[in-house]
Symmetry: C2
Subunit: 654 residues, 2 copies
């Protein structure tokens, strides 16, 4: 008999099927409807335990209104937490409540006091040690008393109330039928700036692969721009069979390097490094250099093999063979990708196959890599990812997985629910005011915020969006500021800082992409926006408001080309507003409407505004302020708002 109904628990995803995500240092706030017949005073606790803890810890929940309760517990370490709720009618509090109403009505309460004594006696039986003795002493004093008034004072005393609360009668308690789960990641899962690097293009000699040493030489510049994560596209040997040539040509020339996503050759597979880049030792040195500079390395994890990958020989059952005895290439009919053979995840070999891919991840974890950007996870089974991520994070809760699933919305979301720490998103194609507002509201205010951390990339090796192709340097500045201030985690793919915009005609792909060629870049090429990137990343680092995701709110600006939004830090001390001209071609003016009342600023109160990109300071008053955003000079402005200390002269004047 469980008369207490606990329901509508938040956060809870798909009836508890999937974990929510938080970061270390957060408190997990849990709410529930707790309903029981009648008018009993209720008590409820939030029960929680970190992975590896056998016993529940408990923290009281408090009543909000309308049968809604709330509690929270601190997330002190990485890994998975479980939580649930227990609630029961609090007999002593209900008795107290009724007694006080009777006393107010000046009714006789002799019988009620005897009933109260019985509740104390039962609590004394449940209690142990000092608390039992204290309760027994209270009973003894009650029995010595002859006046109701004395007994009232005894039974309503605050000390007894606390003792009773610590020894409740839970015989009628209900425990919520589900144990819910939270993944607690490190803060870098939420807040980081990524720089994506093609290792072989980081050198200075035309027609030859750069090495990890060349990559190391670029680190000071990447660090100076303010990035935290250096993400390398696959570093493994590249298949030689059916290797692709420049611009995805079906046949490679003799000197062509091939796509690094066609992994594996006689030089090794997913646990090897491409000899042109260096040795595993060189790679470990690169990782160490990053760590010394307080950056970390992210690796690409692409589950696909070149036809000459060692797995094909060693494990033919992992692949699909055609009626003529040939291996099945990747394809999306009528397109064929003959430099890649996809793995077959289903079949009797499943256990062996899954464990091998897990071990590939663990191998690189062993080399000091704690971030993996997963290529095309939406073409592999969702339960596989759910299993792999759990397996890896149980041993290494600091490992972060980014899902590169530019796919159907619900598949993208389901991969995030299955455990991916971060997700690529449709931000890459959201350019204008309404679509940005709608999409960011979904990401930050809907249930998505519980499990999907959007990592905003304005470009990738596969995607050079039309906006960047046509909008020139201002387009790159605009997209950088949007990515870096709308989301707390974002990244750029090298060349973005150079405003590289040469595209294959009619496509959103790079012309002469380094995916298929050796490239050498002039990293100081005219027109670069490294200063802009540096300034924006510095502003992110200096302002905790920009290190959070869910705090994004849009505010009115009276021009459709101007997007205006704000973020406040959790403590409310840091308040940032951003106005962006979304039109890379024309200046636009807009009146911005600042939500003063939310900031506790009165309409007639002066406040201090600092534009963080220019350093200009203002004293403003009132909600509405005009801004003029010229894509050539100031496509965006970032304001930090502070109260203005106003003090009347308080000393007497002589």
């Amino acid at each position: 008999m469980h008369p207490v109904i606990i329901q509508n628990v938040t956060p809870e995803l798909n009836g508890g099927r999937y974990p929510v995500k938080r970061e270390v240092g957060d408190a997990l706030v849990v709410e529930a409807d707790i309903v029981k017949e009648g008018h009993d005073i209720m008590a409820a606790v939030l029960k929680y335990r970190a992975a590896g803890e056998d016993a529940w810890r408990e923290t009281p929940m408090r009543f909000l209104e309308n049968d809604r309760w709330r509690g929270e517990f601190p997330l002190e370490r990485m890994g998975r937490y479980r939580y649930t709720i227990e609630a029961w009618p609090d007999a002593f509090e209900s008795w107290r409540h009724d007694l006080e109403k009777r006393l107010d009505a000046e009714q006789a309460v002799t019988l009620e006091l005897t009933e109260g004594r019985e509740l104390v006696a039962l609590a004394a039986e449940r209690a142990e040690g000092a608390e039992r003795r204290q309760l027994q002493q209270a009973l003894a004093r009650f029995d010595e008393m002859s006046e109701d008034a004395d007994r009232v004072d005894l039974l309503l005393a605050p000390t007894l109330r606390r003792l009773m609360a610590r020894n409740p009668d839970r015989r009628l308690a209900s425990v919520y039928e589900k144990e819910l789960e939270a993944i607690v990641d490190r803060v870098a899962a939420r807040y980081a700036a990524w720089y994506e690097m093609f290792p072989r293009s980081q050198g200075t000699v035309e027609g030859r692969s750069a090495t990890f040493k060349d990559c190391e030489r670029r680190l000071p510049e990447v660090k100076a721009m303010g990035f935290d994560v250096v993400y390398l596209v696959p570093i493994h040997p590249i298949g030689k069979i059916n290797r692709k040539g420049p611009n995805n040509a079906p046949v490679a020339g003799p000197g062509d390097p091939g796509s690094p996503y066609a992994i594996g050759s006689d030089e090794g597979g997913h646990k090897a490094v491409h000899p042109e880049l260096g040795t595993l030792e060189d790679f470990r040195n690169f990782v160490a250099r990053c760590q010394e500079m307080d950056m970390e390395v992210a690796l690409d994890f692409a589950i696909q093999c070149a036809p000459d990958h060692p797995y094909v020989q060693a494990h033919p059952d992992w692949f699909k063979w055609r009626p003529d005895g040939s291996i099945k290439y990747a394809e999306n009919p009528p397109k064929k990708y003959q430099d890649i053979v996809p793995v077959q995840f289903y079949g009797p070999h499943q256990d062996e196959l899954w464990r091998e891919w897990r071990d590939v991840v663990l191998f690189w974890v062993g080399q000091g890599v704690k971030i993996f950007r997963v290529d095309n996870p939406h073409t592999k089974p969702i339960p596989f990812w759910e299993w792999l991520i759990r397996e890896v994070q149980e041993a290494h809760p600091d490992v972060v997985f980014l899902s590169e699933a530019f796919t159907r919305p619900k598949l993208l979301q389901t991969l995030a629910k299955a455990g991916f720490s971060q997700s690529y998103t449709y931000f890459t194609w959201r350019n204008f005011k309404q679509e940005l507002t709608d999409y960011l509201t979904e990401l930050t205010q809907s249930e998505c915020k519980e499990y999907l951390r959007p990592n905003f990339f304005p470009n990738t090796p596969d995607i050079l969006p039309a906006y960047l192709q046509t909008g020139g340097r201002p387009a790159f500045m605009i997209r950088l500021v949007l990515a870096a201030t709308l989301s707390s985690v974002y990244g750029i793919y090298n060349g973005f800082e150079l405003c590289e915009a040469a595209a294959l005609p009619g496509k959103e792909e790079y012309l002469d992409s380094e995916k298929f060629e050796y490239k050498v870049w002039d990293w100081d090429r005219e027109g670069h926006i490294k200063d802009w990137i540096t300034a924006v990343n510095r502003i992110r680092q200096e302002n905790p408001a920009l290190q959070e995701l869910e705090n994004l709110r849009f505010h009115p600006a009276d021009d459709d080309n101007v997007l205006f939004y704000g973020k406040a830090s959790l403590d409310g001390d840091n308040r940032i507003f951003v106005a962006v001209n979304l039109d890379p071609f024309e200046p636009h003016q807009a009146v911005l409407d600042f939500p003063l009342e939310e900031m506790g600023i009165r309409p007639n109160q002066t406040f201090q505004v600092e534009e963080l990109l220019s350093g200009r300071k203002h004293l403003w008053r009132g909600r509405r302020h005009s801004v003029d955003l010229d894509p050539q000079s100031n496509p965006a402005e970032i304001y930090r708002i502070r109260g203005w200390m106003h003090r009347d002269y308080v000393e007497t004047c002589y």
Copy 2:
């Protein structure tokens, strides 16, 4: 390995914890997100079975968009249905799809045809009987062919496609992890008009109880007003100990009848009838008279006992006893209800107690009663109701339970989820435009619509709302129209038709209530609104749109005193609009905005309007029409909209 993820199923309440409600003749429409990695063509079936059926039946689901699927199945009988979903990648459809793309690109498909043949061969192994033979014949024909073009035609033939769909490979199928439940009630659970009757007040002799025979004499009038359900407040013997006097006086006079909610005396308990009303035989006759007139009887089910109820003697452990040996009375401190002792639902006697109350219900079911209005269910355990309703409905799926829970919103809702067929609501206190719009939108458009059927009562023996106390006859007319057209099921408590409005000063209670006195009413008293009630009930009967709940939609009227809304029948043939002046004191004019495009009426098209209360007909054109609502004459208007047959003269003129 279940690569298919089925989630976000609707309808589903609290993760499948509670059943949804529907009525016989409905189709249950079920939707789900069905997600799998990659780009396979999927297949899905909705699986369902009625109570007592061992095997699932299956009906195909169809793809909508964005990974959303929909299916439906007919609810052919009363009782509980279960449903779930199964989905799998359709290997043959995926193969077909790819083949067609290859053919469009004029690629060679020889190998693909061999792969397709293999799929057919596997299906032949799964198939049985004639279908197996047909598949085997197709294989034989394939093997005889030498041209790819012939094999293409064979494998893409519609007949083979159907055969393959009927013999799918479900090895990679997922079944949704929950079996969901639907309660299917008879239509009267959704659509009925109730007349609540105090049996002892239906007579003609002052100071004496009326009898069931007197009640029978009132039935023609109740029927003539258009009611379907005659609901009687408790008909059982009334306690003699601590009986209440007029206007809830703590002590009854010698001739006072007491409250019928203080049930039980030496004359019997919940399975007896009050001797003043007649015998059980008389009651059965009353039930039969109602049935002859195509009405049915609803009884009050009030789980509370007078101190002299037979249960108190027979089952002292069902009640709570105080330290001085006295029985505990019902109370809500500091108020005391000394004519009632509440039952204790918890304890070792629980099984016996619960079964006894179930048997009380079954006893009255045995007397022909199939509707129970449950008094104060919110003071009894929710799991008790969940159990009792399921027990009764398993044997008698035509039994309807109305929950009288004027309590906290979430407790009211949870009782509905637990199984109550209908619920009293806060309609009783929602009088004005915004609050009516908000509340009815919640009831008809939120998740509430899945489980909570609101039975709208503008008055009850306990509640004479301030609006009725002060608004005079127009207030009664207004509230009647609102109750009868906003919800599909509603009721009035006798005296409403007489506009009885005498209240205890400062309270929302009747003065000299028949709850505590013998009363005689003049049912033709001046100022009655029986004609108005009759007209509105007739309009409900003639218009299927008003027999549904979820079809309610509000439309603009440019005056805050005028509420304007519409309902359409499921087939769209019957379209009703209602405009109500919510102000009982003053006439108000408003321009009503009819949603012509939803009705398929063009802006310049003439349509036919019949005002159903007056019978006036109009030909209108355009969205906006003005109405003048005078509370003294036409506080409301009800429009039926029909297209206007416009036909150009089509014959040749000579």
